[in-house]
Protein backbone atom coordinates (compact mmCIF):
# COMPACT_ATOMS: atom_id res chain seq x y z
CA UNK A 1 0.00 0.00 0.00
CA UNK A 2 2.81 2.39 0.96
CA UNK A 3 4.64 1.65 -2.28
CA UNK A 4 1.47 2.16 -4.33
CA UNK A 5 0.86 5.56 -2.77
CA UNK A 6 4.46 6.54 -3.53
CA UNK A 7 3.85 5.39 -7.10
CA UNK A 8 0.77 7.61 -7.25
CA UNK A 9 2.81 10.63 -6.20
CA UNK A 10 5.51 9.76 -8.76
CA UNK A 11 2.81 9.66 -11.44
CA UNK A 12 1.55 13.02 -10.20
CA UNK A 13 5.06 14.46 -10.68
CA UNK A 14 5.28 13.16 -14.24
CA UNK A 15 1.79 14.38 -15.18
CA UNK A 16 2.48 17.67 -13.41
CA UNK A 17 5.76 18.26 -15.28
CA UNK A 18 4.09 17.35 -18.56
CA UNK A 19 1.27 19.83 -17.95
CA UNK A 20 3.72 22.53 -16.84
CA UNK A 21 4.97 22.44 -20.42
CA UNK A 22 1.76 23.88 -21.92
CA UNK A 23 0.43 27.40 -21.29
CA UNK A 24 -3.15 26.24 -20.74
CA UNK A 25 -2.35 23.33 -18.46
CA UNK A 26 0.63 24.74 -16.58
CA UNK A 27 -1.14 25.93 -13.46
CA UNK A 28 -3.05 22.70 -12.96
CA UNK A 29 0.21 20.81 -13.60
CA UNK A 30 1.89 22.65 -10.78
CA UNK A 31 -1.01 21.84 -8.47
CA UNK A 32 -1.03 18.18 -9.45
CA UNK A 33 2.69 17.96 -8.65
CA UNK A 34 2.08 19.74 -5.33
CA UNK A 35 -0.70 17.27 -4.50
CA UNK A 36 1.67 14.41 -5.30
CA UNK A 37 4.19 15.92 -2.92
CA UNK A 38 1.59 16.18 -0.16
CA UNK A 39 0.64 12.51 -0.61
CA UNK A 40 4.30 11.46 -0.51
CA UNK A 41 4.95 13.50 2.63
CA UNK A 42 1.92 12.12 4.48
CA UNK A 43 2.88 8.57 3.51
CA UNK A 44 6.43 9.16 4.72
CA UNK A 45 5.18 10.54 8.04
CA UNK A 46 2.96 7.50 8.57
CA UNK A 47 5.46 4.96 7.30
CA UNK A 48 8.69 6.12 8.96
CA UNK A 49 9.40 5.01 12.52
CA UNK A 50 9.42 8.53 13.84
CA UNK A 51 10.35 8.77 17.49
CA UNK A 52 11.12 12.45 17.44
CA UNK A 53 7.81 13.96 16.38
CA UNK A 54 8.63 17.33 17.92
CA UNK A 55 11.73 17.75 15.75
CA UNK A 56 9.89 16.73 12.59
CA UNK A 57 6.90 18.95 13.33
CA UNK A 58 9.11 21.92 14.19
CA UNK A 59 11.01 21.51 10.90
CA UNK A 60 7.79 21.31 8.88
CA UNK A 61 6.26 24.36 10.57
CA UNK A 62 9.36 26.54 10.34
CA UNK A 63 9.97 25.48 6.72
CA UNK A 64 6.37 26.20 5.75
CA UNK A 65 6.39 29.64 7.35
CA UNK A 66 9.64 30.63 5.65
CA UNK A 67 8.53 29.15 2.32
CA UNK A 68 5.16 30.91 2.31
CA UNK A 69 6.72 34.18 3.43
CA UNK A 70 9.39 34.03 0.72
CA UNK A 71 6.98 33.04 -2.05
CA UNK A 72 4.47 35.76 -1.26
CA UNK A 73 6.94 38.50 -0.59
CA UNK A 74 9.25 38.06 -3.58
CA UNK A 75 8.76 40.44 -6.46
CA UNK A 76 8.38 39.03 -9.94
CA UNK A 77 11.63 40.72 -10.95
CA UNK A 78 13.58 38.89 -8.27
CA UNK A 79 12.26 35.47 -9.28
CA UNK A 80 15.61 34.08 -10.48
CA UNK A 81 17.24 34.79 -7.11
CA UNK A 82 14.32 33.21 -5.29
CA UNK A 83 14.57 30.03 -7.35
CA UNK A 84 18.30 29.96 -6.60
CA UNK A 85 17.66 30.19 -2.84
CA UNK A 86 14.95 27.51 -2.83
CA UNK A 87 17.18 25.32 -4.93
CA UNK A 88 20.16 25.74 -2.63
CA UNK A 89 18.03 24.81 0.39
CA UNK A 90 16.81 21.66 -1.36
CA UNK A 91 20.43 20.74 -2.05
CA UNK A 92 21.60 21.18 1.53
CA UNK A 93 18.61 19.17 2.75
CA UNK A 94 19.84 16.15 0.77
CA UNK A 95 23.37 16.62 2.14
CA UNK A 96 22.06 16.91 5.72
CA UNK A 97 20.03 13.75 5.28
CA UNK A 98 23.20 11.94 4.20
CA UNK A 99 25.04 13.36 7.21
CA UNK A 100 22.34 12.02 9.55
CA UNK A 101 22.70 8.61 7.91
CA UNK A 102 26.44 8.71 8.68
CA UNK A 103 25.80 9.63 12.33
CA UNK A 104 23.07 7.07 12.86
CA UNK A 105 24.56 4.07 11.11
CA UNK A 106 27.91 2.43 11.58
CA UNK A 107 29.64 3.14 8.27
CA UNK A 108 31.58 -0.12 8.36
CA UNK A 109 28.31 -2.05 8.68
CA UNK A 110 26.74 -0.40 5.62
CA UNK A 111 26.95 -2.03 2.18
CA UNK A 112 29.46 -0.31 -0.10
CA UNK A 113 26.78 1.01 -2.45
CA UNK A 114 24.95 2.73 0.41
CA UNK A 115 28.15 4.44 1.55
CA UNK A 116 28.79 5.50 -2.05
CA UNK A 117 25.33 7.04 -2.43
CA UNK A 118 25.76 8.83 0.92
CA UNK A 119 28.96 10.37 -0.41
CA UNK A 120 27.34 11.34 -3.73
CA UNK A 121 24.35 12.88 -1.98
CA UNK A 122 26.64 14.88 0.31
CA UNK A 123 28.94 16.06 -2.47
CA UNK A 124 26.20 17.14 -4.90
CA UNK A 125 23.94 18.54 -2.18
CA UNK A 126 26.69 20.67 -0.65
CA UNK A 127 27.91 21.95 -4.04
CA UNK A 128 24.31 22.86 -4.94
CA UNK A 129 23.90 24.73 -1.66
CA UNK A 130 26.93 27.02 -1.82
CA UNK A 131 26.78 27.31 -5.63
CA UNK A 132 23.16 28.46 -5.50
CA UNK A 133 23.89 31.01 -2.81
CA UNK A 134 26.81 32.46 -4.78
CA UNK A 135 24.43 32.71 -7.77
CA UNK A 136 21.89 34.43 -5.52
CA UNK A 137 24.51 36.88 -4.26
CA UNK A 138 25.58 37.73 -7.81
CA UNK A 139 22.01 38.30 -9.03
CA UNK A 140 21.05 40.26 -5.94
CA UNK A 141 24.13 42.45 -6.35
CA UNK A 142 25.60 41.45 -2.99
CA UNK A 143 28.81 40.58 -4.81
CA UNK A 144 29.92 41.86 -8.21
CA UNK A 145 28.63 40.17 -11.33
CA UNK A 146 32.08 40.01 -12.85
CA UNK A 147 33.85 36.67 -13.01
CA UNK A 148 36.20 36.30 -10.05
CA UNK A 149 39.42 34.83 -11.37
CA UNK A 150 42.87 34.67 -9.84
CA UNK A 151 46.22 33.16 -10.63
CA UNK A 152 46.47 29.50 -9.85
CA UNK A 153 42.70 29.12 -9.72
CA UNK A 154 42.78 25.97 -11.82
CA UNK A 155 45.42 24.47 -9.53
CA UNK A 156 43.34 25.29 -6.44
CA UNK A 157 40.19 23.84 -7.99
CA UNK A 158 41.96 20.71 -9.18
CA UNK A 159 43.46 20.24 -5.69
CA UNK A 160 40.02 20.58 -4.10
CA UNK A 161 38.63 17.95 -6.43
CA UNK A 162 41.54 15.63 -5.66
CA UNK A 163 40.99 16.14 -1.90
CA UNK A 164 37.26 15.44 -2.27
CA UNK A 165 37.81 12.30 -4.33
CA UNK A 166 40.61 11.16 -2.02
CA UNK A 167 38.40 11.66 1.02
CA UNK A 168 35.65 9.70 -0.72
CA UNK A 169 37.99 6.81 -1.43
CA UNK A 170 39.24 6.85 2.16
CA UNK A 171 35.71 6.74 3.54
CA UNK A 172 34.89 3.83 1.24
CA UNK A 173 38.05 1.94 2.25
CA UNK A 174 38.25 2.77 5.97
CA UNK A 175 34.68 3.61 6.93
CA UNK A 176 36.19 6.50 8.85
CA UNK A 177 33.44 9.00 9.70
CA UNK A 178 35.91 11.82 10.43
CA UNK A 179 37.09 11.83 6.83
CA UNK A 180 33.44 12.06 5.76
CA UNK A 181 33.15 15.53 7.35
CA UNK A 182 36.24 16.67 5.47
CA UNK A 183 34.54 15.62 2.25
CA UNK A 184 31.45 17.65 3.18
CA UNK A 185 33.50 20.76 3.99
CA UNK A 186 35.50 20.51 0.76
CA UNK A 187 32.27 20.06 -1.22
CA UNK A 188 30.95 23.33 0.22
CA UNK A 189 34.11 25.11 -0.92
CA UNK A 190 33.92 23.51 -4.38
CA UNK A 191 30.41 24.95 -4.83
CA UNK A 192 31.75 28.46 -4.20
CA UNK A 193 34.83 28.01 -6.37
CA UNK A 194 32.80 26.59 -9.26
CA UNK A 195 30.42 29.53 -9.49
CA UNK A 196 32.57 32.60 -8.68
CA UNK A 197 34.47 32.51 -12.01
CA UNK A 198 31.19 32.57 -13.96
CA UNK A 199 29.86 35.97 -15.02
CA UNK A 200 26.58 37.29 -13.69
CA UNK A 201 25.02 37.11 -17.15
CA UNK A 202 25.35 33.36 -17.09
CA UNK A 203 23.72 32.85 -13.68
CA UNK A 204 20.43 31.57 -15.16
CA UNK A 205 22.34 28.73 -16.79
CA UNK A 206 24.11 28.03 -13.50
CA UNK A 207 20.85 27.99 -11.54
CA UNK A 208 19.29 25.69 -14.10
CA UNK A 209 22.24 23.31 -13.88
CA UNK A 210 22.23 23.42 -10.07
CA UNK A 211 18.50 22.66 -10.21
CA UNK A 212 19.42 19.53 -12.10
CA UNK A 213 22.05 18.78 -9.43
CA UNK A 214 19.60 19.15 -6.55
CA UNK A 215 17.44 16.54 -8.30
CA UNK A 216 20.40 14.17 -8.50
CA UNK A 217 21.19 14.79 -4.82
CA UNK A 218 17.60 13.88 -3.95
CA UNK A 219 17.83 10.74 -6.11
CA UNK A 220 21.05 9.74 -4.28
CA UNK A 221 19.25 10.22 -0.97
CA UNK A 222 16.60 7.92 -2.43
CA UNK A 223 19.24 5.22 -2.88
CA UNK A 224 20.41 5.70 0.72
CA UNK A 225 16.88 5.28 2.07
CA UNK A 226 15.83 2.78 -0.62
CA UNK A 227 12.86 4.90 -1.57
CA UNK A 228 11.62 4.79 -5.17
CA UNK A 229 9.54 7.96 -4.93
CA UNK A 230 12.71 9.90 -4.10
CA UNK A 231 14.63 8.24 -6.91
CA UNK A 232 11.89 8.99 -9.46
CA UNK A 233 11.35 12.58 -8.33
CA UNK A 234 15.07 13.25 -8.23
CA UNK A 235 15.75 11.66 -11.61
CA UNK A 236 12.90 13.59 -13.23
CA UNK A 237 14.28 16.90 -11.99
CA UNK A 238 17.83 15.88 -12.87
CA UNK A 239 16.81 15.22 -16.48
CA UNK A 240 14.48 18.23 -16.72
CA UNK A 241 17.10 20.63 -15.35
CA UNK A 242 19.70 19.30 -17.77
CA UNK A 243 17.41 19.74 -20.80
CA UNK A 244 16.54 23.28 -19.75
CA UNK A 245 20.21 24.10 -19.23
CA UNK A 246 21.11 22.85 -22.69
CA UNK A 247 18.25 24.81 -24.27
CA UNK A 248 19.46 27.97 -22.52
CA UNK A 249 23.06 27.61 -23.69
CA UNK A 250 21.81 26.92 -27.23
CA UNK A 251 19.84 30.16 -27.17
CA UNK A 252 23.14 31.94 -26.46
CA UNK A 253 24.89 29.90 -29.14
CA UNK A 254 27.43 28.60 -26.66
CA UNK A 255 28.31 25.28 -25.17
CA UNK A 256 27.80 24.38 -21.54
CA UNK A 257 31.56 23.94 -21.12
CA UNK A 258 32.09 27.46 -22.45
CA UNK A 259 29.63 28.89 -19.93
CA UNK A 260 31.15 27.05 -17.00
CA UNK A 261 34.84 27.44 -17.69
CA UNK A 262 35.38 30.44 -19.96
CA UNK A 263 35.22 33.13 -17.26
CA UNK A 264 33.01 35.14 -19.59
CA UNK A 265 30.63 37.95 -18.83
CA UNK A 266 32.35 40.74 -16.95
CA UNK A 267 33.35 44.30 -17.72
CA UNK A 268 37.02 44.43 -16.93
CA UNK A 269 38.62 42.21 -19.49
CA UNK A 270 37.05 43.80 -22.57
CA UNK A 271 39.69 45.35 -24.75
CA UNK A 272 38.85 48.64 -26.35
CA UNK A 273 35.68 49.37 -24.41
CA UNK A 274 37.23 52.57 -23.09
CA UNK A 275 37.96 54.02 -26.48
CA UNK A 276 34.54 53.05 -27.83
CA UNK A 277 32.76 54.87 -25.03
CA UNK A 278 34.27 58.23 -25.96
CA UNK A 279 32.50 58.22 -29.32
CA UNK A 280 29.57 60.63 -29.66
CA UNK A 281 26.01 59.42 -29.25
CA UNK A 282 22.73 61.13 -30.10
CA UNK A 283 20.96 61.97 -26.90
CA UNK A 284 17.18 62.09 -26.80
CA UNK A 285 14.66 63.61 -24.41
CA UNK A 286 11.18 62.37 -23.60
CA UNK A 287 9.83 64.82 -26.19
CA UNK A 288 12.10 63.39 -28.90
CA UNK A 289 11.01 59.88 -28.05
CA UNK A 290 7.34 60.87 -28.01
CA UNK A 291 7.62 62.50 -31.45
CA UNK A 292 9.39 59.48 -32.96
CA UNK A 293 6.89 57.05 -31.45
CA UNK A 294 3.79 59.18 -32.03
CA UNK A 295 4.33 59.48 -35.79
CA UNK A 296 5.33 55.86 -36.35
CA UNK A 297 3.08 53.26 -37.90
CA UNK A 298 4.71 50.27 -36.29
CA UNK A 299 6.64 50.01 -33.03
CA UNK A 300 8.62 47.08 -31.69
CA UNK A 301 9.44 47.03 -27.98
CA UNK A 302 12.55 45.08 -26.98
CA UNK A 303 12.51 44.57 -23.20
CA UNK A 304 15.51 43.50 -21.15
CA UNK A 305 16.65 43.26 -17.57
CA UNK A 306 16.57 47.06 -17.20
CA UNK A 307 12.79 46.87 -17.52
CA UNK A 308 12.68 44.31 -14.73
CA UNK A 309 14.95 46.34 -12.46
CA UNK A 310 12.89 49.48 -12.98
CA UNK A 311 9.59 47.59 -12.45
CA UNK A 312 8.55 49.24 -15.71
CA UNK A 313 6.23 46.54 -17.08
CA UNK A 314 3.04 48.45 -16.22
CA UNK A 315 4.43 51.74 -17.56
CA UNK A 316 5.35 49.90 -20.76
CA UNK A 317 1.83 48.60 -21.12
CA UNK A 318 0.36 52.10 -20.58
CA UNK A 319 2.57 53.66 -23.23
CA UNK A 320 1.76 50.81 -25.64
CA UNK A 321 -1.97 51.32 -25.07
CA UNK A 322 -1.62 55.04 -25.76
CA UNK A 323 0.22 54.27 -28.99
CA UNK A 324 -2.41 51.73 -30.04
CA UNK A 325 -5.11 54.34 -29.41
CA UNK A 326 -3.36 56.41 -32.06
CA UNK A 327 -3.62 53.50 -34.51
CA UNK A 328 -0.01 52.40 -34.15
CA UNK A 329 0.82 48.70 -34.25
CA UNK A 330 2.81 47.62 -31.19
CA UNK A 331 4.64 44.31 -30.77
CA UNK A 332 7.13 43.03 -28.25
CA UNK A 333 10.27 41.19 -29.29
CA UNK A 334 11.21 38.67 -26.61
CA UNK A 335 14.69 37.24 -26.83
CA UNK A 336 15.09 33.75 -25.34
CA UNK A 337 17.71 35.00 -22.88
CA UNK A 338 16.28 38.46 -22.20
CA UNK A 339 16.25 39.21 -18.51
CA UNK A 340 17.88 36.82 -16.13
CA UNK A 341 15.99 33.64 -16.97
CA UNK A 342 14.22 32.21 -19.99
CA UNK A 343 10.64 33.45 -19.99
CA UNK A 344 11.47 36.16 -17.44
CA UNK A 345 10.12 38.90 -19.74
CA UNK A 346 7.00 36.90 -20.54
CA UNK A 347 6.18 36.64 -16.86
CA UNK A 348 6.66 40.36 -16.31
CA UNK A 349 4.65 41.44 -19.34
CA UNK A 350 1.92 38.94 -18.49
CA UNK A 351 1.79 40.60 -15.07
CA UNK A 352 1.04 43.88 -16.85
CA UNK A 353 -1.74 42.26 -18.94
CA UNK A 354 0.07 42.52 -22.27
CA UNK A 355 -1.88 40.31 -24.72
CA UNK A 356 -0.12 37.09 -25.72
CA UNK A 357 -0.41 37.68 -29.43
CA UNK A 358 1.72 40.83 -29.20
CA UNK A 359 4.66 38.88 -27.83
CA UNK A 360 6.93 37.70 -30.63
CA UNK A 361 9.89 35.37 -30.28
CA UNK A 362 13.20 35.72 -32.08
CA UNK A 363 12.12 33.98 -35.31
CA UNK A 364 8.88 35.95 -35.52
CA UNK A 365 10.21 39.38 -34.58
CA UNK A 366 13.52 39.60 -36.41
CA UNK A 367 12.13 39.45 -40.00
CA UNK A 368 9.70 42.27 -39.15
CA UNK A 369 12.40 44.69 -38.03
CA UNK A 370 13.35 46.12 -41.46
CA UNK A 371 9.69 47.15 -41.88
CA UNK A 372 9.43 48.53 -38.35
CA UNK A 373 9.47 52.32 -37.96
CA UNK A 374 10.62 52.62 -34.37
CA UNK A 375 12.28 50.11 -32.09
CA UNK A 376 12.06 50.94 -28.39
CA UNK A 377 14.75 49.16 -26.39
CA UNK A 378 14.03 49.08 -22.67
CA UNK A 379 17.06 48.05 -20.68
CA UNK A 380 18.17 45.38 -23.15
CA UNK A 381 21.71 45.42 -24.43
CA UNK A 382 23.49 42.22 -25.41
CA UNK A 383 20.49 40.81 -27.29
CA UNK A 384 20.55 43.80 -29.67
CA UNK A 385 24.33 44.10 -29.99
CA UNK A 386 25.36 43.97 -33.68
CA UNK A 387 28.82 42.76 -32.60
CA UNK A 388 27.28 39.33 -32.27
CA UNK A 389 26.72 39.48 -36.03
CA UNK A 390 29.65 41.56 -37.31
CA UNK A 391 32.62 41.22 -35.00
CA UNK A 392 34.15 37.75 -34.94
CA UNK A 393 36.43 38.80 -32.07
CA UNK A 394 33.49 39.65 -29.82
CA UNK A 395 32.81 37.25 -26.95
CA UNK A 396 29.16 37.09 -27.96
CA UNK A 397 29.89 36.56 -31.68
CA UNK A 398 27.39 34.12 -33.14
CA UNK A 399 24.69 34.67 -30.53
CA UNK A 400 21.35 35.16 -32.29
CA UNK A 401 20.27 38.80 -31.86
CA UNK A 402 17.51 41.15 -32.92
CA UNK A 403 18.93 43.10 -35.85
CA UNK A 404 17.36 46.32 -34.62
CA UNK A 405 19.85 48.46 -36.54
CA UNK A 406 17.87 47.54 -39.67
CA UNK A 407 14.74 49.32 -38.39
CA UNK A 408 13.91 52.97 -39.12
CA UNK A 409 14.75 54.54 -35.78
CA UNK A 410 16.07 52.94 -32.62
CA UNK A 411 15.38 54.48 -29.22
CA UNK A 412 17.52 53.02 -26.47
CA UNK A 413 16.34 53.63 -22.91
CA UNK A 414 19.24 52.96 -20.60
CA UNK A 415 20.51 54.38 -17.36
CA UNK A 416 24.01 55.06 -18.63
CA UNK A 417 26.41 54.20 -21.39
CA UNK A 418 27.98 51.48 -19.28
CA UNK A 419 28.26 48.10 -20.94
CA UNK A 420 25.57 45.50 -20.37
CA UNK A 421 25.65 42.54 -18.08
CA UNK A 422 28.01 40.69 -20.39
CA UNK A 423 30.39 43.65 -20.15
CA UNK A 424 30.65 44.29 -23.87
CA UNK A 425 30.40 47.67 -25.56
CA UNK A 426 27.54 48.02 -28.02
CA UNK A 427 28.23 49.68 -31.42
CA UNK A 428 24.48 50.11 -31.87
CA UNK A 429 24.55 53.08 -29.49
CA UNK A 430 26.76 55.12 -31.85
CA UNK A 431 24.69 54.57 -35.00
CA UNK A 432 23.12 57.55 -36.80
CA UNK A 433 19.60 56.20 -36.45
CA UNK A 434 19.98 55.46 -32.73
CA UNK A 435 18.67 57.84 -30.07
CA UNK A 436 19.99 57.35 -26.55
CA UNK A 437 17.52 58.19 -23.79
CA UNK A 438 19.48 58.03 -20.54
CA UNK A 439 17.01 57.36 -17.75
CA UNK A 440 15.48 54.74 -15.55
CA UNK A 441 13.09 52.76 -17.77
CA UNK A 442 9.99 53.52 -15.71
CA UNK A 443 10.70 57.26 -15.48
CA UNK A 444 11.51 57.38 -19.18
CA UNK A 445 8.24 55.69 -20.14
CA UNK A 446 6.13 57.89 -17.88
CA UNK A 447 7.78 61.06 -19.20
CA UNK A 448 7.34 59.87 -22.78
CA UNK A 449 3.68 59.07 -22.15
CA UNK A 450 3.14 62.58 -20.76
CA UNK A 451 4.96 64.12 -23.71
CA UNK A 452 2.94 62.02 -26.15
CA UNK A 453 -0.24 63.89 -25.21
CA UNK A 454 1.21 67.06 -26.75
CA UNK A 455 2.37 65.43 -29.97
Amino acid sequence: MIELLYLASAVAFIVGLKRLGGPKTARSGNRIAAAGMLVALVVALVDADIVNWATVAAGLVVGTIIGVWGAIRVQMTAMPQMVAVFNGLGGIASALVAAVAVLEADLSALPAQTTLTILISTLIGAVTFTGSFVAFAKLQGLIGGNPIVFTGQQVVNASLLVVALGAGVLVMADSNPDVYWILGAVALIIGVMAVIPIGGADMPVVISLLNSFSGLAAASAGFVFENNALIIGGALVGAAGLILTIQMTRAMNRSLANVLFAGFGGGDAVIGSGEMSTKPVKRATAEDAAIALGYAESVMVVPGYGLAVAQAQHATRKLATALEDRGITVHYAIHPVAGRMPGHMNVLLAEADVPYEQLLDLEQADPRLPQTDVVLILGANDVVNPSARDDSSSPIYGMPIFNVDRAGTVIVVKRSLSPGFAGIDNPLFYNDNTLMFFADAKDALEQTLAALRDV
Binding site: I50, V56, V62, N211, L236, Q247, G343
Partner: protein, 104 residues
Amino acid sequence: MSVLIVGITVFVLASFVGFEVISKVPPTLHTPLMSGANAISGITVIAAVTAAGLGSTAVVEVLGFLAVATATVNVVGGFLVTDRMLQMFRRPGARDPGKETSPK
Protein backbone atom coordinates in the same frame (compact mmCIF):
# COMPACT_ATOMS: atom_id res chain seq x y z
CA MET B 1 16.71 -8.42 -8.27
CA SER B 2 18.53 -6.63 -5.50
CA VAL B 3 17.22 -3.33 -4.16
CA LEU B 4 20.16 -1.56 -5.75
CA ILE B 5 19.42 -2.92 -9.23
CA VAL B 6 15.74 -2.00 -8.88
CA GLY B 7 16.80 1.49 -7.79
CA ILE B 8 19.14 1.92 -10.77
CA THR B 9 16.43 0.65 -13.13
CA VAL B 10 13.91 3.12 -11.72
CA PHE B 11 16.47 5.94 -11.89
CA VAL B 12 17.38 5.34 -15.54
CA LEU B 13 13.78 4.97 -16.68
CA ALA B 14 12.67 8.06 -14.75
CA SER B 15 15.49 10.07 -16.32
CA PHE B 16 14.27 9.14 -19.79
CA VAL B 17 10.74 10.11 -18.83
CA GLY B 18 12.13 13.45 -17.61
CA PHE B 19 13.89 14.09 -20.92
CA GLU B 20 10.80 13.18 -22.94
CA VAL B 21 8.35 15.20 -20.88
CA ILE B 22 10.45 18.35 -20.88
CA SER B 23 11.89 18.53 -24.35
CA LYS B 24 8.83 20.13 -25.98
CA VAL B 25 8.30 23.19 -23.80
CA PRO B 26 7.94 26.72 -25.25
CA PRO B 27 10.55 29.21 -23.90
CA THR B 28 7.75 31.26 -22.33
CA LEU B 29 7.26 28.60 -19.73
CA HIS B 30 10.91 27.92 -18.96
CA THR B 31 10.97 30.03 -15.79
CA PRO B 32 7.83 28.55 -14.21
CA LEU B 33 8.93 25.11 -15.33
CA MET B 34 12.33 25.50 -13.71
CA SER B 35 10.63 26.72 -10.57
CA GLY B 36 8.12 23.85 -10.57
CA ALA B 37 10.81 21.23 -11.19
CA ASN B 38 12.82 22.82 -8.39
CA ALA B 39 9.87 22.33 -6.04
CA ILE B 40 9.69 18.66 -7.03
CA SER B 41 13.37 18.25 -6.14
CA GLY B 42 12.24 19.07 -2.61
CA ILE B 43 10.98 15.45 -2.54
CA THR B 44 14.05 14.96 -0.40
CA VAL B 45 11.73 16.12 2.41
CA ILE B 46 10.63 12.47 2.59
CA ALA B 47 14.15 11.38 3.45
CA ALA B 48 14.46 14.37 5.77
CA VAL B 49 11.45 13.45 7.94
CA THR B 50 12.69 9.86 8.10
CA ALA B 51 16.16 11.03 9.14
CA ALA B 52 14.87 13.62 11.62
CA GLY B 53 12.58 11.03 13.18
CA LEU B 54 15.56 8.80 14.10
CA GLY B 55 16.80 11.42 16.52
CA SER B 56 19.06 9.51 18.94
CA THR B 57 21.50 12.32 19.72
CA ALA B 58 21.33 16.08 19.92
CA VAL B 59 23.48 16.48 16.81
CA VAL B 60 21.16 14.23 14.81
CA GLU B 61 18.18 16.20 16.06
CA VAL B 62 19.68 19.51 14.99
CA LEU B 63 20.76 18.21 11.57
CA GLY B 64 17.42 16.46 11.11
CA PHE B 65 15.50 19.60 12.02
CA LEU B 66 17.57 21.64 9.54
CA ALA B 67 17.04 19.03 6.81
CA VAL B 68 13.25 19.02 7.28
CA ALA B 69 13.07 22.82 7.48
CA THR B 70 15.21 23.48 4.38
CA ALA B 71 13.47 20.80 2.31
CA THR B 72 10.07 22.17 3.37
CA VAL B 73 11.06 25.69 2.32
CA ASN B 74 12.05 24.23 -1.05
CA VAL B 75 8.73 22.41 -1.47
CA VAL B 76 6.26 24.97 -0.10
CA GLY B 77 8.04 28.04 -1.46
CA GLY B 78 8.71 26.39 -4.81
CA PHE B 79 5.13 25.35 -5.54
CA LEU B 80 3.65 28.62 -4.25
CA VAL B 81 5.98 30.83 -6.23
CA THR B 82 5.34 28.78 -9.37
CA ASP B 83 1.62 29.17 -8.85
CA ARG B 84 2.06 32.92 -8.42
CA MET B 85 3.96 33.12 -11.69
CA LEU B 86 1.44 31.04 -13.60
CA GLN B 87 -1.42 33.09 -12.21
CA MET B 88 -0.07 35.95 -14.29
CA PHE B 89 -0.39 34.03 -17.53
CA ARG B 90 -3.98 34.86 -18.21
CA ARG B 91 -5.41 33.70 -21.46
CA PRO B 92 -6.93 36.35 -23.74
CA GLY B 93 -10.54 36.86 -22.76
CA ALA B 94 -10.12 35.30 -19.32
CA ARG B 95 -9.91 38.60 -17.48
CA ASP B 96 -11.39 37.55 -14.19
CA PRO B 97 -8.61 36.28 -11.94
CA GLY B 98 -11.14 34.75 -9.59
CA LYS B 99 -12.29 32.33 -12.26
CA GLU B 100 -8.81 31.02 -12.91
CA THR B 101 -8.74 28.44 -10.15
CA SER B 102 -9.52 25.42 -12.28
CA PRO B 103 -8.11 25.85 -15.79
CA LYS B 104 -8.68 22.90 -18.07
